[in-house]
Amino acid sequence: MTSLETWKTFEPESYYKSFLEKNKRPDGRGLMKVRPITIKIGTVTTAEGSSTVRVGHTTVMCGIKAEIATPALRNPDEGFIVPNVELYPCSSPKIKMGPPGEKAMGTSQFLKNVLHSSGVLDLKDLCIVPNKLAWCLYCDVACINYDGNLYDAALTAIMAALQNVRLPVVSYDAENDKTSVASERTLPLMIKLMDPTAEDESQGSGEVVVVLLENGSLCTTHKPGGQLILPNILDDFVKLAKKRVKVVNNLIDRVLTERMDTS
């Protein structure tokens, strides 16, 4: 073991502090610098919509499956959107096989919260025939390489995939109560592009504080209410990605500390 590794193992706090004092991270990246982001859409051909997002080494795949379901009695003119995050054991040595862990569950709940409260997608658009048919979108987010900043990667992936969704046109015959799906014609989903990162931010602020205090070194940087980003409306996908980079700049505390957790 080199002396640097020994230092890192035995005195992690002072090891990281020494880098932070010089506004650098152990991998040479500046504190305000974001890792490169790569986004690919349509990576899973069997899914209705899909994307692969890489933030540094964090790799997340999102596939959206659409199923026809009966709307809930409470909201007869609304469809469903069900996000689910999975962290595979291959993504990190810390993750074991078995039922989803706290991290995966927390991220799923977070995505659900963001999708429902941001109004990114009007659930009414998913309704085919009120009280009879509606789309149920299963958004499965699989993390195949976990190197921090899962929230951002998962959210970007899900947003990218949602814009990639092509749903077949469904015609409903009320007399015979028969449904036919015309598979050749497709219909893109109407997505109101609200910047999800604003949401991400306000949700994430709690996370920021917690993680920071765990590492003990940056807790003083925390200022209540200081982490809020104004929600911006973006038009296209590339712009969204670029905007996200800027926002992530402001979110650097979190990136940094999550990075610390994994490095």
Binding site: M105, G106, Q109, H116, Q203, V209, H222, P224
Partner: protein
């Protein structure tokens, strides 16, 4: 603000417990520890904290697990975990009755049960929920019905000294202005909650035996 009520040492067998209610939401929290820890949870430099939350009806689902995770991370930064290495602190929260304020009630119940157990902490903490109505007024500690009508619901967990934010949870969209207004309102309300904590503990310690 809704009425807060609490009863300390509600359970006889656990190391500390508290029954806490805000309005019609009631939660019972019990603390055991620092005690024996399972081998795979054992941490060499600090205590292991486990929070489990069970809803009043049905099984614990993903929502409850996320709630647990929020409470765990909040409590974790307040307890002086490094004082008790290789131990476990278990916090169990049972929702007794719900009127929308599960998060703030269970956070407050957890705090009082930790105080009752005498677990060493950096400071006290309290959660306050507020909601923004469509007419842009802020309601502190709304009922479930009021929350349903509202644009956004935000919960802040604040610490007992400087009223800094320990964690924040938000549903629905808020702009920066409203967010800050919500935070201000919650900070004001939190002062009353901390006064309430103090009264509860003064009551507990004033009835105790003194020999001098």
């Amino acid at each position: 603000m809704s009425k807060h009520a609490c009863e300390l040492n509600f359970l006889s067998r656990s190391d500390g417990s508290a029954l806490y209610s805000i309005g019609n939401t009631v939660a019972l929290a019990s603390v055991n520890g620092p005690g024996e820890v399972k081998k795979f949870n054992r941490l060499y430099n600090r205590a292991y904290l486990e929070v489990s939350y069970s809803p009043s009806t049905g099984q614990s689902m993903i929502g409850e697990r996320a709630l647990e995770s929020v409470i765990t991370r909040t409590v974790e930064q307040v307890i002086l975990v490094h004082l008790h290495p290789r131990t476990a602190v278990n916090v169990t929260i049972q929702e007794m009755q719900s009127d929308g304020l599960e998060l703030s009630t269970s956070v407050n119940a957890a705090c009082l049960s930790l105080l009752d157990a005498g677990v060493q902490m950096k400071s006290t903490f309290a959660a306050v929920t507020c909601c923004l109505t469509p007419s842009s007024t802020i309601l502190i500690e709304p009922t479930a019905a009021e929350m349903k009508e509202s644009v956004a619901v935000a919960t802040f967990v604040l610490d007992g000294q400087a009223l800094n934010v320990l964690s924040a949870h938000q549903e629905g969209c808020l702009n920066a202005e409203n967010f800050n207004a919500c935070l201000k309102a919650c900070q004001t309300a939190a002062k009353d909650v901390f006064n309430f904590y103090r009264q509860a503990l003064e009551k507990k310690y004033h009835t105790c035996n003194e020999i001098s």
